[in-house]
Amino acid sequence: MNTPGRPPLGNPYLPLPVRLERVTVENDARDLKTFELTFSDPGLREKFTFVPGQFSFLGLAGVGEAPFGIASAPHEANLAFTLKKAGHVTTALHELSPGMELGLRGPYGNPYPLHTARGRNIVIVSGGFSFTTLRSVIVHLMRPDRRGDYGRITVVYGARSPGELLYKDELRAWEALPDIDLTLCVDRADGDWPATEGLVPNVLREVAPSAKNAVALVCGPPVMLRFTHPVLEELGFSPDDVYLSLENRMKCGIGKCGRCNIGEVYVCKDGPVFSYRRLRELPGEN
């Protein structure tokens, strides 16, 4: 699992046909849906290997394609992506029903450093709908045959309101488990979900996971990232032990189309996961 997966095809621009198996509406606003996919050619599932944190392009012929983090764990049968309806590609994808075919390219990018994090405690911090690739991490780490490879797992995950939290059934299941410390927080609580009120960085400060022998994996909107770094620093996390996943507009996924760069690095092929130390060296252009 230490080597990131790479596309199984020769021509990186040709999408692989995938079939939509299941669509789950994730939030009250109904603009977040999880799409579960299988390869139309079953042999391709074997060849399609990835590590949590990598992303793929999803597309529809005649509409176009866009990049999305992989929300499923490598051992799960279906590939899953959670998409917010925002641009023209996601709007078209939100119209699809199970049984329809779409195109997938990938996997691309560098994953979370789970291989080097073996034997260490894992702290996961996320806000909003960027929780997707971190769901992949959690499901991957919670696998019974893998759980022993890592120490404590602490998760702080927040959304605007309880109805906007992703993967609610899984969150409930994880809350009941002894080997994962899950703290959910919302800007505004309501009756049917016992989540803490507060912003992710503040709640993280209260939860105060120890930095000792720990790695922090962070993904969220820019404003959350800005206020989370200082808290992790307060808690004693070295910039080498904090990893962030970034997003930028991209067209190719392989470092050629020229638009996802931050300074000299391309988010697509040098990221999307960067250590905070690396990110600090780059221009503040994201």
Binding site: G10, N11, P12, Y13, L14, P15, L16, P17, V18, S40, G59, L60, A61, G62, V63, G64, E65, A66, A86, G87, V89, T90, E101, L102, G103, P222, E247, N248, R249, K251, C252, I254, G255, K256, C257, G258, R259, C260, N261, I262, G263, E264, K269, P283, G284, E285, N286
Partner: protein, 339 residues
């Protein structure tokens, strides 16, 4: 490899012989002499070697302004049909700067970690015959960015003017085959090309320390100088479209009556949509941030990653900028301002 000779009056026969084996492309005259463009030829007729450069660099034959990546039918959307092969090609009359730009493209598109099959196919199927520059234009500055008016980068064969003949310098096996039928050149012929190359070099006096500038640019991201440099810029993008080294592209779908194609087309970092997220967030929201990105890409990021600068000194951006921005002045201002 033995230098050979081609009499200018034999150009038609030379081209016709090439055209038997491959598609031949050359700068072709149009009504506007300044607006030559690479087009298919079968003889000497129409070929323009008087004009210094085509308006569009030769990059359009390797990364076309618009190309089909694959076709699809709407009723079976995921069954894609890749585009077919192209014929073998010889491109005649490439200027050394435009050819040098292809060597820079190679670093991007022939990257073993993510090979671009469309570009690779065109590169492998194409032989390049260059024509050296003895009389550089007023905006030319190839010597300042590591190039040469008689430069050989990426070429298979270089033609150097020696009066009523060209000295043909084979640079690869492909080039040697192209010139095999010509007679060998003498020592005096080679000496003449040396003399002309030296004279051409002397005409280009712009010589800033760009290696030092690349170092200075490392810490210049937040400098206020970018505001001043970007003030005249209207972000029209002409510098990027005409630049032989600019290679950014967009990928979009086009569909009509149940048939469609995924299209790759040139794009420009000077446009605000280039980097705008679906959420509306834009990492490069202003003209200043976009001009800064283009300048840093060419003179800091690319050299940092690959070594050479991402500029070949052709001067097209200087000649065609509607706001009169002269890249040489930009580089001089940066050199003088940054520490």
């Amino acid at each position: 490899m033995t230098p050979r000779l081609l009499a200018k009056k034999d150009l038609g026969r030379f081209i016709a012989a090439l055209a038997k084996e491959a598609e031949v492309w050359a700068p072709v005259k149009s009504t506007d002499r300044e607006n030559c463009r690479f087009g298919p030829v079968t003889g000497a007729e129409g070929i323009c070697l008087d004009c210094l450069q085509t308006r569009l660099p030769v990059k359009e034959l390797f990364l076309p302004q618009r190309e089909i990546l694959f076709r699809f039918k709407s009723d079976s959307p995921a069954r894609v049909k890749p585009v077919s092969d192209i014929p073998a090609r010889v491109v005649f009359g490439v200027r050394p700067c435009d050819a040098a730009a292809l060597e820079l493209f190679d670093r991007v598109f022939l990257d073993p970690a993510g090979d671009d099959p469309y570009y690779r196919h065109r590169r492998e199927r194409t032989a390049l015959i260059g024509v050296a520059c003895d009389d550089p234009g007023t905006a030319c500055f190839c010597t300042a960015v590591g190039g040469d008016p008689h430069g050989t980068a990426a070429l298979d064969l270089l033609l150097e003017d020696i009066g009523d003949r060209w000295l043909c310098r084979p640079l690869t096996e492909k080039g040697e085959r192209l010139a095999a039928a010509r007679g060998p050149a003498g020592k005096d012929d080679c000496a003449e090309t040396e003399r002309r190359a030296a004279a051409a070099r002397e005409q280009m006096t712009f010589a800033p320390d760009l290696a030092q500038l690349a170092e200075k640019l490392a810490g210049a991201f937040d400098h206020e100088i970018w505001e001043e440099l970007a003030r005249p810029c209207v972000n029209c993008g002409v510098c990027t479209y005409l630049c032989p080294t600019c290679h950014c592209f967009d990928v979009t779908d086009e569909e009509r009556h149940g048939r469609g194609a995924r299209i790759r087309a040139w794009d420009s970092c000077q446009f605000s949509l280039f980097t705008r997220h679906a959420s509306g967030h834009n990492p490069r929201p202003t003209g200043t941030t976009r001009l800064r990105n283009r300048t840093l890409h060419k003179f800091r990021y690319f050299p940092h990653t690959h070594g050479p600068l991402l500029c070949v000194g052709c001067g097209r951006c200087i000649i065609h900028c509607p706001a009169g921005i002269d890249l040489r002045e930009t580089l001089e201002t940066l050199t003088a301002t940054l520490r």
